[in-house]
Amino acid sequence: MNTRSTLALALVAGSLALSACSKKAPASLPPDPGGAVSTDTSGQNQGPVPGSQADFAAQMMGQDTILFDTDRYNIDSADQQALAAQSVWLAKYPAKRITIEGHCDERGTREYNLALGERRANAAKNYLVSLGIDAGRITTVSHGKERPLALGSDEDSWAKNRRAVTVTID
């Protein structure tokens, strides 16, 4: 995901460079919609605005989401790494607040999954707090099984849907 977007940016930059070379002849070309981007890329810092949700998502490289086993809500070592990465970013931007969204796979009853999603979101919250993030910056919400990410009815999809997603509030 991240490498692909960097590639795309490089391609855009390349084509812009090319067009800049041949720019002299036609003076009446309509403004290139991409032109605004090219003027922005003054230096090396052409990613999302630092401290924004887009920046958080880009920096986390997928670690904005942690996954759970069936019916479980414990934080395993992979989750710990992801939450540690989140906490570094959050320490860098101490004014940012976050919502942790808890989700479940479809193979549970609706009400129980709402409670389980809340429990998962809280497990992630508690771990962030243990890493020094102020609990007052973190809210939790459960969507139970109502908002799946993967749409299949198979183990792979269910594993992707048993998740807690951290979203920063811009």
Binding site: D71, Y73, T99, E106, R107, T109, R110, E111, Y112, L114, A115, L116, E118, R119, R120, A121, N122, A123, N126, T139, T140, V141, S142, E146, R147, P148, L149, L151, G152, S153
Partner: protein, 460 residues
Amino acid sequence: MKLTRILACLSLAALPAALLAQAAPQPEASASPAAGGEEVLTGTVSGEGEWQNQSIAIPAFATNADVPTQTSAGTTAALGFSLASVIYSDLRNNGLFKPTGPASLPRPALGQVQAPDYAPWQSRGTDMLLQGYVRGEADGNVTVGCYLYDVGLGQPLAKAGWTVPPGEWRRAAHKCADMAYSRLSGENPFFDSRIAYVAETGPKNRRMKRLAVMDSDGANHRYLTTGQTTALTPRYSPDYKKILYLSYYNGSPRIYVYDLERDRQDLLLQSKNPLFAPRWSPDGKWVLYSMAIAGNTDVYKMPAAGGNAVKLTDSPGIDIGGSFSPDGSRIVFESDRSGSQQVYVMNADGSGQKRISFFGGRSATPEWSPRGDQIAFTHIAGNFRIAIMDPGGGGLRYLTDSWQDEAPTWAPNGRVIQFFRTARGSGKTGVWQVDLTGKNERKLDTPVDGSDPAWGPLRP
């Protein structure tokens, strides 16, 4: 045929209905000894007694004068046909009796409604005759008379009449169907009731979920919420004036009360904590709800009119849901305090909590039958199946066998259950119904997909 007559004789002698049900033989219990122990019908389930096999003729209702009405059915003659059609559908769709509808029967003359000529019906081989009349009143209301006759005996069995506003003509038909069903089966009525549910549209990851209500046969359907925020798990109040349900407030789950008389929604209570699983007590005076604090969900009880809540459970796990016994003295709920979802019973004050489900797998969404004798729940062991057990945790019986059936709700008479079924892959949902024999299973005809059905009581 012979049994029909015996039954009819007994009933004419005014024996209690319960006795009648016991008098009916239970061929199912003895006819399938090879079935697994859990599949054998228990003594409390009369199953398909002989009454199920009776043929019943339902001709168009007669009228004194074919005049226009304010009903959606048209003139009194058209209304007479529609009334019989609704009754016919009630019985046929629920697998009750062997009904014949008005489309293939002669309409009786008005004078024959109360003094039928039995001979033609006898020669048709009809066991029972359910007929009536309709009369338009000067004030716009309609009066419906309903008469049940035993054709073989040539005797009346029951009669009743109702005057209803034009917008409620279908209720008269449901009451007539209820009268015949109760009289012939010995069971309590259930057709004159309504259902709240969640209407679903859209793709699997962005389902729109709206609160909707309809009659027990799917008629008079109405959406209550717009779908801008997700609505889940509705419950009708016992007086049909309000609906408790879950929706999201500022992005967080909260419990709302929909006031059907004023068409407005209010938060049940202000809280910074997530709230789930609202339930009414049978007398409508209490509300059960579940609240998560720091991820730990427990069951609470509060006065429906507002006031201090009482915390009923205090386990570190998820305690959620709840359903009162009909007398209000006990509550069945689910908890994962043992490590997985299981069904527990407690007294209404939270004391005496005791696990009752020991079936392997997980047991969830318990609902106490309005008769008090059974608890319906979702059993999860691979597939999700609707099952029933007695309040002591014995007598497990599966009613459905599909990939994912969940959230049972009882008909007012405790003989039929609705639930929702989710399709593997597409995630499409539908409201389904099954009776306690497990044999009469069908999908309800809703305008869009549906989930979380909640069957209200018999209408007041």
